[in-house]
């Protein structure tokens, strides 16, 4: 059989084993639930942003109803007014939560009662309504016909011109950036650990030696990475599809076309990041002497991924800062930061070939070092190896006597 045939065979076994396991079903279910929850819950919260209910207390305030509604409409604030007979009733309703605010107006005073605080926009709307009524009243009392003064009272429209307008899809892009980084962090850590565990299992169960009699270490390694990578990709695809469907159902966020265009870029980032991390995780898995040590040896990679993910929040706040550019060139951090920056649309064209080059070289170097560590350490049956020891090993048997046997001559 040719070399790729063996690799495919190894990958196929990995996929079959994983699909038969219960863990993958649970993990897929959890991922789907998290994604669906992440998509629908903000939508449901937004859907509850009902208008602010303002009670107008007494005749004077109730006369303001048309003015309040007009002003609110102009300010694009949602206000629902209702009439309340007296202050005591109004207070009771505000306290019980039936009303958000109660407005009472005197000859030269006005008061709005709220439970805790009042939204500044709502406050401005109410203030303007009261002012307007007060002005009309004052004009009427002075005998000045309102019609004559009215043009002077018409507000001069103030046009706002943004010199650097935010992209219309900024919210969607920010969400996409966080989602991309989070997904990258979780999936790389998850599938990386799966690779390390798989390698450690083959080593500690001594299956590796039987395998290596038929298969080269590189075939075994690449088959394992490929199999687990494809399983992971399938799992991500299911989660992504669930997210898109959930979004369509609850109309949570309108996904702008610009985000869809980013999908191939995300896919590429995942493949590059997974390759980089999976080989490193595999080599780490080969160092252990017991399955329980996997967690310890893979800790640094998990930390790199976590730091990369956390930095994304700083990247969102300062997408164009120099240090952001610098850290996004560091290979272990690039895996999480770059997809986020692509989502935000802040990757300069000149950065792309540099990113590709750095990632390419890192992957090449990682595969080389990892393959060597893997091949050396896989059938070493002594205590857990350090990276340095594993690189220096020439043979693969322990430098100790074979264990003695009861049937010794």
């Amino acid at each position: 059989m040719n070399r790729t045939g063996i690799t495919r065979l190894v990958a196929g076994r990995e996929i079959t084993e994983r699909l038969q396991g219960r863990l993958i079903r649970i993990m897929t279910l959890i991922t789907v639930l998290v994604v669906v929850g992440g998509v629908t819950i903000p939508g449901l919260i937004k859907g509850s942003s009902a208008p602010t209910r303002v009670g107008l207390v007494g005749g004077d305030a109730q006369a303001l109803a048309p003015t309040v509604e007009r002003t609110a409409a102009a300010a694009k604030a949602k206000i629902a007014v209702s009439n309340v007979s007296d202050e005591a009733a109004a207070r009771a309703q505000v306290t019980s939560g039936q009303l958000d605010a109660a407005l009472s107006v005197g000859p030269s005073t006005a008061r709005v009662e709220v439970k805790e605080s009042l939204d500044p926009t709502i406050r401005a709307v109410l203030q303007a309504s009261v002012d307007s009524a007060h002005l009309r009243q004052a004009l009427a009392q002075s005998g000045i016909p309102v019609d004559k003064v009215l043009p002077a009272l018409t507000p001069v429209p103030l046009a706002t011109v943004a010199l650097k307008p935010p992209p219309p899809d900024r919210t969607a892009r920010t969400i996409a950036a966080i989602a991309a980084a989070l997904l990258m962090y979780i999936s790389l850590a998850l599938y990386g650990t799966a690779v390390a565990n798989g390698v450690a299992q083959e080593k500690t169960s001594r299956t590796a030696e039987v395998l290596l009699a038929a298969v080269r270490p590189s075939q075994l390694l690449s088959g394992k990475v490929l199999g687990i990578g494809l399983t992971g990709l399938g799992q991500l695809a299911i989660a992504a599809a669930a997210g898109v469907i959930a979004n369509a159902v609850v109309h949570s966020t309108k996904i702008p076309g610009s985000v869809w265009v980013l999908l191939p870029a995300f896919l590429l980032c995942f493949l590059a990041g997974f390759t980089l991390y999976a080989f490193a995780y595999a080599a780490a898995g080969a160092l252990v002497s017991r399955q329980e040590e996997v967690q310890f040896v893979t800790l640094p990679f998990g930390l790199f991924l976590l730091v990369g993910y956390l930095l994304v929040y700083a990247v969102i706040a300062h997408p164009d800062a120099t240090w952001v550019r610098v850290v996004s060139f560091l290979p272990p951090l690039m895996a999480t930061i770059l997809p986020a920056r692509i989502a935000l649309g802040h990757v300069a064209p000149w950065e792309i070939p540099l990113d590709v080059l750095i990632m390419g070289v890192s992957i090449w170097a990682t595969i080389r070092i990892a393959s060597r560590v893997y091949a050396n350490a896989l059938i070493y049956s002594g205590a857990r190896l350090s990276w340095k020891e594993a690189l220096q090993l020439t043979g693969s048997a322990p430098p100790v006597e074979e264990p003695s046997r009861s049937a010794a001559a």
Partner: protein, 298 residues
């Protein structure tokens, strides 16, 4: 050079300061069963791993049918390592068939061969069980099925008999005989010397990374002083002045003489007859256990 012959040529290997192989050479011909014998740490496993290409020796070569071993040769080898190991969660049929496929079988052939071997080894009823569900002895059988499933031309078995019950030992012995009869070259290591003696025509004794002896039992015996038991109806003094032989013990069963190689036994017989009527005259056959002790202690 015959086809299907394994040649191990002057292997050297060290692990740090420890010399594991110090010029090991031996061969296994097609149809031959060779036993590799030696104490723990003598270099048996390292030599076998070198043959399987799992370990690259510092120096020396391993050849198959006269040429350096390539990947096409190696898929025709079957291996059972000293440290047994298979996928615990994989079902027997899937597992054995998987290894057949790694050795170049297509899906249908792999399935068929896996089923055949599992049935032959008495696991036909358990093909859909997971490996972990099996007893230690049955797991050993699966390990053997994995080594044999692709009908290898060379079988390398590191301590295949360790931990087997007598029934399983017989079953494995039969399988090894069958494989050799079918033309496979078989190399195995063992501490159970009486087993090696029963199974092998040829034995390789290794000690401290070197080959101490390599040959058939008869050849090995010739290299050692022979033991001759002579019973004469006379005191043992007749034997004291013999050249090329000395008394190892003397009792009512006669004298036991250690005869140097090259000494003519007829001279001893004549000396005995001169002393009195000879009741018994015969060489004691040294077993592999004796040969091994003698060789290693020298």
């Amino acid at each position: 050079m015959e086809t299907g012959e394994l040649e191990v040529l002057d292997l050297h290997h060290r692990f740090g300061d420890l010399v594991a192989l110090d010029g090991v050479s031996f061969g296994v011909a097609a149809g031959e069963i060779v036993g590799l014998v030696g104490r723990n740490g003598a270099g048996k496993t390292t030599a076998m791993r070198s043959v399987m290409g799992i370990l690259r020796p510092d120096r020396g070569a391993v050849k198959w049918s006269g040429h350096p071993i390539g990947e096409d040769d190696r898929v025709r080898f079957g291996y059972m390592p000293e440290e047994r190991g298979l996928y615990p969660q994989m079902r027997l049929l899937e597992q054995v068939a998987y290894f057949a496929r790694l050795h170049g079988f297509d899906t249908a052939a792999a399935d068929g061969a896996a089923r055949t071997w599992l049935e032959r080894l008495g696991l036909g009823e358990r093909t859909s069980d997971k490996l972990v569900a099996l007893s230690h002895g049955n797991q050993q059988r699966v390990q053997l099925a994995v080594a044999l499933v692709h009908g290898p031309d060379l079988l390398v078995l590191d301590e295949p008999f360790a931990g087997l019950d007598p029934e399983a030992v017989d079953a494995l012995s039969r399988v090894l005989f069958e494989q050799a009869t079918a033309g496979a070259a078989v190399l195995f290591s063992s501490h159970q010397l009486e087993l090696v003696e029963r199974l092998c025509r040829r034995v390789v004794i290794v000690e401290s990374g070197r080959v101490l002896a390599d040959g058939t039992l008869a050849e090995l015996r010739r290299r050692l002083p022979a033991e001759l038991r002579v019973k004469v109806d006379a005191p043992p003094d007749w034997a004291r002045s013999l050249k090329g032989a000395r008394i190892a013990s003397a009792d009512e069963d006669g004298v036991l003489l250690v005869v140097d190689p090259g000494t003519d036994p007829q001279i001893i017989l004549r000396a005995a007859q001169a002393a009195g009527p000879v009741e018994h005259f015969g060489f004691e056959t040294a077993g592999l256990v004796d040969l091994y002790r003698e060789m290693v202690s020298r």
